[in-house]
Structures are given as C-alpha cells and as structure tokens.
Symmetry: C2
Subunit: 370 residues, 2 copies
Amino acid sequence: MNLTRRDFTKFSTLALAAQFGQQLTPELLAQTSGRKVGYCIIGLGRIADHFMRGTLDTNNSKVTALVSGHPDKAAQIAEKYGVPKSSIYNYENMDAIRDNKSVDAVYVALPNSMHAEYTIRSAKAGKHVLCEKPMAVSVAEAQSMIEACKSANVKLMIAYRCHYETTNLRAVKLIRDGAIGQVQSIQSAFGFNCGPNEWRLDKPLAGGGPLMDVGIYCLNATRYLTGEEPAEISAYAFSNPLDPRFKTVEENVSWVTKFPSGVVASCNTTYGAQMDGYFHVYGSKGWIDVNPAFVYDGLRLTAQIATPDNPYVTLDEPNSEKDPIHFSKEADHFSNCILHNLEPKTPGEEGLQDMKYIRDIYRSAGIAKS
Amino acid sequence: MNLTRRDFTKFSTLALAAQFGQQLTPELLAQTSGRKVGYCIIGLGRIADHFMRGTLDTNNSKVTALVSGHPDKAAQIAEKYGVPKSSIYNYENMDAIRDNKSVDAVYVALPNSMHAEYTIRSAKAGKHVLCEKPMAVSVAEAQSMIEACKSANVKLMIAYRCHYETTNLRAVKLIRDGAIGQVQSIQSAFGFNCGPNEWRLDKPLAGGGPLMDVGIYCLNATRYLTGEEPAEISAYAFSNPLDPRFKTVEENVSWVTKFPSGVVASCNTTYGAQMDGYFHVYGSKGWIDVNPAFVYDGLRLTAQIATPDNPYVTLDEPNSEKDPIHFSKEADHFSNCILHNLEPKTPGEEGLQDMKYIRDIYRSAGIAKS
C-alpha cells in the first residue's frame, strides 16, 4: 500500500481514536526486549531533567549523550547518568553524534526557536528525534522538520505528554465509550505568572507567548478529547503595555473553536496569572472534569457519567502516579516505536496541526504569525 | 455602638456599594418604614414561586395581586399569599391593575417574548416594573420598555439576582479591593440539559436558546466582575440537527469577549448538557472561583488572594444562605428604590446592554438576531 503524505495525515488522524482506544498503555518493553534506546539530550534545562529522570523508570530508554553550552553542568549530569565524557557535546560539535553508536535518538529540550535547527541537524546525523512542544515557531519550520526526518528515514515524535498519561487517556476513553453521550462543549485553561527573566518572554527564542508554551495544552486537549480537527477558530489577545515582561510576547489569549461535529470549545491562556490547567467536557449524558490536567502529577478526574444500569454515576479518580511518570511513559512509547519500527502516536504531523491552529489563533487575535 | 445583626449586614455590605455601583445593599426597610410595596405577579411559573416566597422574608414587599391564565392555580396561590379574589387578573383584563391601589409594582415572570408587552402595559397602568431577565427578545423591545417606563414615570428594574447576592458581591468586592491584582482573564459557563417540552425551546416564546436564558448569567458576570463593557465579541454556535429540541433555538454557544482594559473572557452555554454555572477570575496576584455561582443557593467562593501581609492567602467561603434569599434581596432592593425614589442598581439600561451583546453574539455565530 502506497500512502501519499495527504493520505498519511488523513490516516493518522482517523487512527487517532483507535490509537487512544487501543493503545492506552505504553507497553513496557522489558517484557519483550533487553535493548535500551540511547538518547542524546539536547538542552539541559528543567524539562530535560524530568525526561532524564523519567528514563530511569523505563526498561527501554537510557541517557547516553548530552549537548549543552555549559560544560560543568553537563559533566555533573553525565556523572549522574553514566554518560562518558566522550559523549558530551556542545552546540557546535553536536553533529558528531552521527558517529556515536550509543545514540539512537535525541530529545530536543531547547527554547522553541531552536527546535527546528536541532531536529534537522539530528535527523541529518541519522538519529530519531523526540522534540518538545511546541514543535517549532512556525508552520514552515514544522514542515521542514517533518521533511528532514522523512528524508533521513528517522522517526519524529512530538513530546505531547498528555497523550501518554493515564488520567488524560482515561478521559478520552470515557468519551469514546460514550459515557457522557455526545460531547457538546469544552472549556480549558492553562497559564501561569511568568517570572521576569525567562527565555519564554523573548519572542526570538520562544516564538510566541503563553499560547505556544501552555495554551497549546488546551488546544491539543480539545483535539484529542473530540478526536476532531478545528473547523474554525476565533481569538482575542492582550498584553499589558506597562508590564515589561510583555514587550515581545503576548500576555493573555482567549479563543473559541468550532469542530466539524458541532462541538464548541473555549480556552484561555496567560503568562500574567496563576491558571491551573484543566479541562471540562460537557456531554449530553454527563460531564468530565480533569483538574489539574496538564501538570506533571497529582492529576484528578471527576465525572458524572451514564452506564447501562445508571444514568448518574459519579467518578472521583485522583491519580497517585508521581512525576516523572509522564516522561517515563513518553520515553517508553518512543523507544518502543524505534525498537519495533512503529509510528509514534504523536508524530510531527500532530505537532504541525497545532502550529497551524496557533498561527490561526494569532492571526485572529491580530498578532501576525508566519 | 450597638449593631444588630441586621445593622451589621447593612453595614458590611454597604462597603460594597462604592465598588459595584452605588447601592449594593438591599436596605431592610422595616427600620425606616412600615409600608410594604405591593407586587402584582404576572405569570405564575417556577421563578414566580421563588419570588413570591422571597417576599415573605422581606419587610418591605408583599404579593397583592396575580395575573394568570389559570384561574384555579391563581386561586390557590392567592389564598397562600392573602390576595383577595378581586386582585386576580387574567392576561386580557390585567390593565385594570391601574385602579388597584394595593399594587405598586409588577413582577414580570413570563416567557421572554412577553416581557416587553407586559412591561409596557404595566407602565401604562402606572405601576413600577421588575422584569425577569432576559429583559426582552430584541434590542428594539428593550429600548421600547425603557421608553415606556420613562414616559409613565415608573421605575424599571431587571431581575439580575446575582447583583444582590452575597457570594457574587463578595467576588466583586475582592476584585475591586485589588485582592487578585489586575484581572487578566475570566472563564464562565452555565447550561443544562433542557427537557423536551419547555417553552424555552420555542423561539417565538423564548426569543433564543440557552444564551438568552442561562448564558446571560455568564455574559452579565463578565461585565460586573470587570466593571467594564465588552469591546469585542466573537462566537460560535451549534445545534444538533437530529435533536428535535433544537428546531428553533440553538443548543450550544461559545464566545470570547475582549474588554477595553484588555481583560479577555471565554464563556460557554448549552441546553444539551449539564453545565454547572461558575466563573473563574484570573488576576495578576491571585484567582477567584465561584462554583456554583448562579443557582439559587449553595454558592461557594474559593480564592487565592494577596493581602498586605501575605501574597498567598487561600479562601474557602461556602454560602449557607438558602433559597429564596436571592429573591428576597432583589425584592427588598426594588421596594426600597420605590419607597425612597432611588434608581435600581440594575435598571432597564443594564438589561439593554446585555440584549445588545446577545445580539452581537448571535450575529457573530451566524444566527440572525434583530
């Protein structure tokens, strides 16, 4: 069977429900294979720390190389993870990972504007790529990343944690199983009060403000909860002109989306207020609230669902899994794809879709976006 | 200084007045006047029952006449409230309230499309008008109601319960006092799964769907929480074409609003799902969640606020007041305005504003609205 790219996109979108329905649990590879996928970590910031700790709880993933501009920091981390000095790179010489047999894949955990460059360089070095979200800072960049990985015949997965996380998957399964009837309406929000010295506030590095960083969780959630792609988006944004944090990126964004089935969703994101990430899904037979929904642990699902026996069953399901469990599951999934030549659940095309909707939201809000 | 409990209530809520308008506190007239304002209740449905029971807990309001198309029902209610048979009217002869000295005001609790007619007829009969929300089914109707009351020199108040209700006022006061810093973003939702035989589903009676009926709470809340008028609104709506309930009114609406200060808000309403009414206000120094926010009792405010001593104070304030307390406060306020010739906090102009924004939301969502 020959699939064109368009077919593939269609196929992967259609398969979304099936993927969520059938492969809810990352399979633990220890059961089938002794080999571990070696990851080169590119960028040693906070999220990389979560990911590296996450690999320790898998049986198929390990940290085997590092890329950093800070040799001392890299040396410390190398010692912790048993990475030999010869596998510590900087941003200039990292292309030499090509010759490092211990490196199967990279984990790109850099500021957003560097995702494309380091994904493409890694692909050219013959390494599979797990790239943090947002995938890039523009649609064109996202497309070039997909092309580069395809040309190099390496896998590209975008690190959408929530697609691999128990409580989010539970919500999706309840919806697909019809437990709340027909989904009518979704609300979601995620944001935080951003400190003044973050790279996130620098558009050349971040590509945009809270929408790209945390609003993307709400956007992506409305897609995986419905299993649909937005048909229309409308948005407003605002930045306090007196707040020096928001000279280049926006402070607040609100948007509404309409999906082809008719589901309507409204979302908020901010860098100017504490906004615990959550989503609320309203269906014809019940509702699901996941709050918090997007942080690293402590997630909780409450719901009122209908079963064949009882139309008003209440659920309260706190998730006791601890950080870095999301990262363990994410690493496990990608390593499994690499070891068994499977397509990741959240490939580059998934990230590209969000980049398109982010562009549409910025345009609707009057913030030009390439 | 000796404060009675009633004095204390007055005292503590008077402080809100400056914030929310001028007169947040229903003053309890027993202290200043023995006279009770007599209300003619027009329409004897569910909300009228709440209102009539509400008058019993005031010292300045009483039910003195009824208008109904159901003589038996009217007779039963008349007995309960001590209304003489001579003060029971039907929709044809109700203009005779003009000659009924026991009637100072009317309470219009009819389906939405009848608000304008009965407000105007009551004004022409020389009676003050307390009209349920939505004020009318069009901007033009709302304007004609304001004109009619002005010409007749009677007061017109729209029954926005939440403007007179403790927990909503508490949220407003916290915001005005700066307890959550600069408001950035608001989310609100309110809806329910509407039974199949409600007049609400009949556009000629209702004028519209959940937006007019319950979405108006979210819309109005974004206005009283910010103290601003929307600068821009964008919306989507959807009705399931296979659901016979939604032949004439919409099922779901989501909208986003931008306020002049930059506050962005997103709201959802529905007749197709249970959607507990709430609002969440995100500020630069904290947040306020009122959930439920719009039902008759059991309201609860939780918040994280900043005080001069502590930037992270958490509040959890369940409201133990019982239905029909909102209606008592509402009646008390309007009666006070009548007895002391004051302007109601929620005059016709307040209702007119919402009618304009409802029109804008329907237009943006592609639902024509006069």
